[in-house]
């Protein structure tokens, strides 16, 4: 598998993502600078990492979404290649129009870093085949603007097409409003595009891949991607 991590000025979880890919998938990702205009040949996974691209000034992800490299990312997605946007990466995907909706200020108006529980809604996407549908996983969040919003029509489409793949939930998997860490519409933590080759999610699976750091629930995501790519090859 060949992964490329896009580094924008202000990205800051690119090393975390690289380590997860290395540890779980055994793959040494390419770091691609935002000012480049093409991806390394053979890239089959693009990762937009967490951070504060361009300071997250204006709106989170807004400036990054218009960076030179994004045309190549768009083309990669259009050709069916996998794109994973984590946290700031999710915000960038929404701003770039690769995913619907927008991410607004957390309902409690504070940046929040803590472990949350996610319900994996389906296991038949390239990103979630490492989990079982309905499985509850513990993953940290660390964001100030992860409050997913979309208009009614968009939400209906997301629900109808089964494109909501992660939701914030209680430890037992129930959709307790108290577990919705940022007030997201329908407790949305992660969604895919229509073709299911683009995933955006707010939580950080890349920070839960090592037993030494207390939890390995994030491994499934990376393992699933590797499996999918191996099967497709």
């Amino acid at each position: 598998m060949r992964a490329s991590i896009i580094v924008f000025p202000g990205s800051n979880r690119e090393r975390d993502a690289a380590r997860a890919l290395r540890l779980v998938c055994g793959c040494e990702p390419h770091m691609v600078w935002h000012a480049d205009t093409s991806l390394p040949p053979g890239t089959d996974l693009v990762v937009l990492p967490g951070g504060f691209s361009y300071g997250d000034y204006l709106r989170c992800g807004a400036i990054a979404a218009r960076a030179p490299i994004m045309d190549a990312v768009r083309a990669h997605a259009a050709a069916g290649g996998l794109v994973l946007g984590i946290c700031n990466g999710f915000q960038i995907l929404c701003e770039a129009g690769l995913l619907p909706g927008a991410l607004m200020r957390n309902a409690q108006l504070r940046f929040t870093c803590k472990d949350v529980y996610l319900r994996v809604e389906r296991s038949d996407t390239p990103f979630t085949r490492g989990y079982n549908a309905g499985q509850v996983i513990r993953i940290p969040v660390a964001h100030g603007e992860g409050n997913y919003v979309a208009d009614g029509e968009t939400l209906a489409r997301l629900e109808g097409d089964g494109r909501i793949v992660f939701r914030y939930c209680a430890p037992d998997g129930s959709l307790d409003p108290k577990a919705n860490v940022n007030g997201s519409l329908a407790a949305i933590a992660g969604i895919v595009n229509e073709r299911r080759n683009v995933l955006g999610l707010m939580p950080h699976p890349e920070n839960h891949v090592e037993a030494a750091l207390g939890c390995t629930d994030g491994r499934g995501l990376f393992a699933g991607i590797a499996e999918h790519l191996a099967a497709a090859a």
Binding site: P9, F52, C113, N207
Partner: protein, 737 residues
């Protein structure tokens, strides 16, 4: 030499915080009247913040040496070897006054400043900590300050991309008009790639890097050394705004050009920006520096030389570059979108020459600017030693359970989750122990080594007895590191006090420094960096003496880290260390009895060392299953914290007959730890302790869902947790304290 600058009058001199005799000294040094710009330069270099004129003679007495120390005090940050060719770089610094005036930006730029101190030396920052002191919760400004400071720390650190992994938050009415924001940054460096401020070589380019210069914080350094009156609000326009995005770019660009071997010397622009950094680089290298201010990238038109020399605009650096590498360095900076300008050069003259619009606006002897700053042996009176308070003089609670519940919900003891959840404490993927334990543990690269990090001080002890309080701050930091299984390496200290011109306050400073020195010597725990913040007072009332200690320890194997949560039912709970039941200056006395008096618990450093080494061995040998040091609130609070962290309760035995129960359970005797071990190991541990000259006492057995004391109602862990977790969020949501 300059006609447009205002004439120097006694009023102008006073406004610059210079005393008449200090001004005379300036005239004697340069043999003439200074220009306005020169006056500004002197005021910046000679104020308390930059010159340490009141504390210098005392700081010299600190213990700063050990075989593992690579760089002690005097550079941007201290450096300590951790083996494998690596070293840890760290320092703590205050941003108290700016945070009181504009809490968000004040705290944010405090973080930015301390991070720059660390990466200026070539280190990549791997963690931040902070120690915060606020006024009484009922004071009308407190809530606003807490909200702003915490958001500012998070806002900067989170965006910059460094995990904020620990700290402390305390409240006391003596901080009502003067909160404390102490920030510590920790970085990792290769021993062979350390960079210093010392300029080398004549005719080398002096380069300005980073953000543009604006009129931010002009006189910020002077403000940091001025006491506040009720007109504090009026000093507002000096507020600096932080740009963590620019700082992140500056970090990456600096590390990149350092790796390319372009840099001879580097200094960040902190307080009194261009002035301090240029003078320091020249003075350290025995060289002169010439600056051409027309080359300085400015954000606003029409800036004067005076303004440029004193601006505290953030996210800026000064470097001396290898001339042949100039183009390469510039290309790297341009790639990161940062300003880069050659603004001067090194000269053999040992003079600091500043030109602006064709005129020389300053021409000063560079060494004297720093070295000849006044040094004061300020008069001081020692704080009278307080009389110890007997346990019999302290009222017992109605029930221990009530007292415990009240203590856990008190502002100083309650959970600080509301605070640390606003900090990204996980980024970089190396946080082994998150906030909430005794010390944070951050893995080094891919492991197996890790660093333990903590900040500690107990100001009420320092107020009652500065010497014992100073010792205790160091001992508690040491203990917190030991409690996670680390070998304590070194400390950074941040000394926050009132006006040194008051002999009582000066006495506190002197006493605390002596105590810190004593503890550091006896514990082999040298001071490698620090910062002094004086004049922390409002309307003549000083803050509590607050010498914050930031401690760093080394763990050889992350797999051998101890945590405070109980691990299993039926394990023996042991107390390591000796208990008299010391209630003087305890939180029990303050929160339950409403009294703040007596002597603080004395720290027996020999005992401290024995107890600590014993506990570390238990952790290392995998005998101890949970470890927690005993500090604020005493033994029962420590046990409750272990229970809450695990959800498991405990059945506890009664207090020894010689000690009144409330003194046993809430006394704050030092050098103690609570440790759990499997039942079967308890006897062996006790025997081993006897051999090591350490007292161990059985406290009870883990299990159930409550803490149970003989003759007391069961205290449900869930109820304790609710009390512990709810005070701060409720307070911040606007509920009465």
């Amino acid at each position: 030499m300059i006609s447009k600058e205002p004439p120097i009058t006694p009023e102008l001199v006073a406004e610059h915080g210079l005393k008449p005799d200090e001004y005379q000294r300036i005239r004697d040094l340069i043999g003439r009247e200074p220009t306005f710009t020169e006056l500004g330069i002197f005021s910046a270099m000679w104020n308390e913040h930059c010159s340490y004129k009141s504390s210098k003679v005392h700081l010299r007495t600190l213990h700063t040496q050990a075989p593992w120390v690579i760089q002690g005090p005097g550079e941007n940050a201290g450096i300590v070897s951790i083996g494998d060719g690596l070293a840890v770089v760290f320092k703590m610094e205050s941003h108290n006054h700016p945070s009181y005036i504009e809490p968000y930006q004040g705290a944010a730029t405090g973080i930015g400043g301390i991070l720059r101190d660390v990466f200026t030396m070539g280190a990549r920052p791997i963690a931040c900590l902070n120690a915060l002191s606020f006024g009484d919760p009922s004071h009308p400004k407190t809530r606003h300050l807490v909200a702003g400071v915490v958001a500012g720390i998070g806002g900067y650190g989170n965006s910059f991309g460094v995990p904020t992994v620990g700290g402390q938050v305390r409240f006391h009415t003596r901080y009502d008009g003067n909160c404390l924001v102490n920030a510590m940054a920790v970085g990792l460096i290769e021993v062979s790639k350390i960079f210093y401020a010392k300029a080398v070589g004549v005719g080398n380019p002096v380069v300005y890097l980073g953000s543009k210069t604006g009129r931010d914080g002009i006189h910020g350094a002077t403000m940091a050394s001025a006491e506040f009156g009720d007109d504090a609000e009026e000093k507002r326009p000096t507020v600096q705004v932080g740009d963590p995005f620019a700082e992140k770019l500056l970090l990456e660009a600096c590390l990149e050009i350092m790796a390319k071997d372009c840099v001879i010397a580097i200094q960040d622009m902190g307080a009194a920006g261009l002035t301090c950094s240029a003078v320091e680089m020249g003075a350290k290298g025995d060289l002169g520096i010439t600056l051409d201010l027309d080359k300085v990238p400015c954000r606003e038109p029409g800036m004067t030389a005076y303004e440029m020399m004193l601006s505290e605009s953030q996210e800026r650096m000064l470097m001396v570059l290898r001339p042949e590498k100039e183009a390469e360095a510039e290309a790297i900076f341009r790639k990161w979108g940062l300003d880069f300008a050659v603004v001067g050069e090194t000269t053999p003259t040992k003079r600091f020459v500043v030109r602006h619009r064709g005129e020389v606006v300053a021409d000063l002897p560079i060494k004297e600017l720093g070295d000849e700053a006044p040094v004061y042996h300020r008069p001081y009176v020692e704080t009278p030693r307080p009389v110890p308070l007997l346990a019999s003089e302290v009222q017992a609670p109605v029930t221990l359970a009530d007292a415990l519940e009240k203590l856990l919900a008190s502002p100083d003891l309650c959970s600080k989750r509301w605070v640390y959840e606003q900090y990204d404490h996980l980024i970089l993927g190396n946080t082994v122990q998150r906030p909430g334990g005794d010390a944070a543990v951050v893995r080094i690269n891919e492991g197996p080594k890790a660093l333990a990090l903590t900040t500690d001080v107990t100001p009420r002890y320092c107020e009652a007895d500065p010497f014992e309080g100073g010792k205790q701050a160091v001992a508690e930091a040491w203990r917190n590191l030991v409690a996670v299984g680390a070998r304590p390496l070194a400390v950074t200290d941040n000394l926050n006090f009132g006006s040194p011109e008051r002999p009582e306050t000066m006495g506190q400073l002197v006493g605390c420094i002596r105590g810190i020195g004593e503890a550091c010597r006896k514990l082999d725990f040298p001071v490698v960096s620090g910062n002094v913040s004086l004049y922390n007072e409002t309307n003549g009332r000083p803050i509590l003496p607050t010498p914050t200690i930031g401690g760093v320890g080394l763990i050889d194997d992350v797999a051998l880290v101890a945590t405070l949560a109980f691990k299993a039912e039926g394990e023996a709970i042991l107390l390591v260390g000796e208990t008299q039941g010391w209630l003087g200056q305890s939180l029990y006395l303050r929160e339950i009895c409403g009294r703040e008096e007596g002597a603080p618990p004395p720290v027996d450093l020999a005992l401290e060392r024995r107890a600590g080494e014993f506990v570390r061995e238990l952790i290392h040998d995998r005998v101890a299953t949970a470890v927690h040091d005993v500090s604020d609130g005493g033994l029962l609070v420590a046990i409750a914290e272990m229970a809450m962290a695990s959800g498991l309760g405990a059945r506890l035995y009664g207090a020894p007959v010689m000690i009144p129960p409330h003194a046993f359970w809430f006394g704050e005797d030092q050098a103690r730890y609570v440790v759990t071990v499997p039942q079967g190991e308890a006897e062996a541990v006790i025997a081993r302790a006897r051999g090591a000259g350490v007292t161990v006492r059985r406290l009870g057995v883990t299990g159930g869902d409550a803490l149970q004391l003989p003759g007391e109602r069961p205290m449900l862990v869930q109820v304790l947790t609710e009390r512990f977790e709810s005070w701060l969020p409720a307070y911040m949501a606007g509920h009465a304290p």
